[in-house]
Each structure stands twice: as C-alpha cells, then as structure tokens.
C-alpha cells in the first residue's frame, strides 16, 4: 500500500518537475539572449569607444602654464619708460611653470630697479632677479632679468 502511495506521489511530482525544468530551459535561453547581444561585440565596442574618448579628453586637459602672450603683455605693461627690451626667451619647464629671461637696456639703475619692482609685484611671477653686476654702470646699462611664471 505504502509503495503504491509512494508511486502515486512520485507520479504527482513528475508534472511540476517537468514544469520547473521547462522554466529552467526558458530562463537559460533568456539569459543567453540577454548576454549574447552585450558580450558578443556591443559591450566591447562601447568600452573601446569610451576608452578612446577618455584618452582623448585626458590628452586635451589644459596645462596651467602662463601662455606667451600673457607673459609678453605683462612685461610691456610693467616696463617703465627708460627701459628698452631687446630679447625675450620663454621656456616651458613643466605643466605649470615657464622660465623667462629678458635682455634689455636701461637709461639708469633706477629705471631697471623700477622694472624689477613692477615685475616682483606680479603674483604669477617668482624669483624676479637682475644680477648685481648689471648695475656696475650708471647709465645706458645692458641688463638681463630672469624669473619663472606660473599659471593663473
């Protein structure tokens, strides 16, 4: 009797088992369909395009250096009368700093000193320096001046 009951019980369980197995097959098919589109190229393409865009945007990140025209306009604005500039060099040191050297002629020591003071007041300029030896002459003085400039 018990055996017969067990067999009937098994017979009753077969139907839900088959149903669940059918669901598992459907779920596997759905997962395969959902991931094939993603993994089968699309995801790789999108990742590639995003990586390329990121690399380009990173490469375009602006430097913080002071551009040439800014340096030149400040030099001209700070130059007192009696100073003639004869040469300027601008050398990029890194992404924030440039080294600037300047050659010129001053009618007097005071004019050169004034120029030096004006440049020292620029917040973006540092290490403004005129060699002391340039002050040996009293007038018509050839001088050089150097400083570093950093981005605003």
């Amino acid at each position: 009797m018990l055996f017969a009951a067990a067999l009937i019980g098994i017979g009753l369980l077969v139907a839900p088992y088959a149903l669940v197995q059918g669901q598992i097959s459907e779920l596997n098919a759905a997962i395969k369909s959902a991931t094939t589109g993603v993994n089968g190229g699309k995801l790789g393409d999108i990742q590639g395009a995003l990586s390329a865009a990121k690399a380009r945007i990173t490469a375009l990140a602006p430097d913080q250096v002071m551009v040439v025209t800014d340096v030149l306009s400040r030099l001209i604005a700070d130059k007192p009368s009696g100073i003639t500039i004869s040469g300027i060099s601008y050398q990029r040191k890194d992404v924030t700093t440039v080294a600037v050297n300047l050659q010129g002629k001053g009618v007097s020591r005071e004019a050169i000193q004034q120029f030096e003071q004006n440049l020292k007041q620029e917040k973006s300029f540092a290490g403004v320096d005129v060699p002391v030896s340039d002050f040996a002459k009293a007038s018509d003085i050839d001088f050089s001046l150097s400083f570093t400039a950093s981005g605003q």
Partner: protein, 179 residues
C-alpha cells in the same frame, strides 16, 4: 503458512521503503531544480539590467557623435600634417608677419597610445605687433597646441637715416597628432 506471511511482510516493508526512498529522492530533486530556477531568475534580472545599461551607453555614445567629432578636431589627423603646416603659415600672413617653418619632428608617444606629438620649429619675423599677434593667433588655434619655447630678439636695421625695428621669434610649438 507463517513463513509465507513473514516473507510477504518483509517484501512489503522493502517495497514501502523503496517507494518512500524514491519519493524523497524525487522530492529533493524537484526542490533542487526549483532553487536552481530561483538563481537563474536572479541571473536573468542581472543580465537584463546589464543589457539595459549597455544599450543606454550605446544610445548616449550614438547621440554624442558631434561632441566626439569636436574632440577629434583638436588633434592633427594622421594625414593632416601638411594641411596643419600650411595653416600655421597662413596665420603669419594674417597677422602681417613672415612665418616660416624650419623643422618638423614627430615625437612618438607610448606604443599603446593613440597619438604622437608634432614638434614644429618656426620663425616669425615682423614688427613687434605683428609677431605678438601671430603668437596670439598660434595660441588660439583650434588645436591642442603649446608653445614649448620661444626666443625673441630685436633686430634694428638702418635704412638711410631711419632705424627700422623688427623682431624675430624662434619658437617650438607642439601639437598632438593622431596616429
């Protein structure tokens, strides 16, 4: 008679045990299958979420074609060096200075990188205003261009009784170039 009853009882008991065992086995199998189905539902939900995210990203990328093209325009194209050099020369003319290219050098980036650096040595000759204006135009070109170095010198020449002041600037400009 007693022996026959005893055998029947043993066989019935064994059959009952086998029947119960089969039932329990089948039940456990179904239970395992149902659990597996529950996990698969979770996997499917995750896969669908990922699919939605990927399609969203794809849509965003497709909709950003113009922006990506704008980003690309800041680089010299792989075959655009000559056009770029001609463009630089035109800037000098526009500002009333003489801009001439002295040397062009390609500084290779890392092997896996998408870009190299085009290093252009040039000279600009003209009045102070013309040279400075040319430099300003150079710094505003629609490329990612840096002035790496610049040497400006004043060159006075006397024509008759007049002193003509001209400036010469030797510069190295660097621009990014797609491979």
């Amino acid at each position: 008679m007693r022996s026959h009853s005893r055998n029947s009882f043993i066989i019935s008991a064994l059959a009952a045990l086998i029947g119960v065992g089969l039932f329990v086995y089948t039940y456990m199998m179904i239970r395992g299958t149902v659990t597996e189905a529950a996990y698969l539902r979770g996997d499917l939900a995750a896969a669908l979420n990922e699919q939605t995210a990927v399609y969203g990203a794809e849509k965003t990328l497709t909709g950003s074609t113009a922006e990506l093209a704008t980003i690309d325009s800041y680089f010299v194209t792989s075959d655009g060096s000559v056009a770029f050099i001609s463009y630089l020369e035109s800037l000098g003319r526009k500002a009333g200075a003489d801009l001439s290219i002295q040397n062009i050098n390609v500084v290779a980036g890392a092997p896996a990188d998408f870009k190299d650096t085009l290093s252009v040595q040039l000279t600009i000759t003209g009045t102070w205003d013309a040279v400075v204006q040319t430099l300003a135009l150079l710094e505003q070109v629609p490329y990612h261009l840096n002035v790496a170095s610049l040497d400006m010198s004043r060159q006075d020449t006397t024509v008759g009784k007049k002193t003509v002041i001209r400036w010469q600037a030797a510069a190295i400009v660097e621009v990014l170039k797609v491979r």
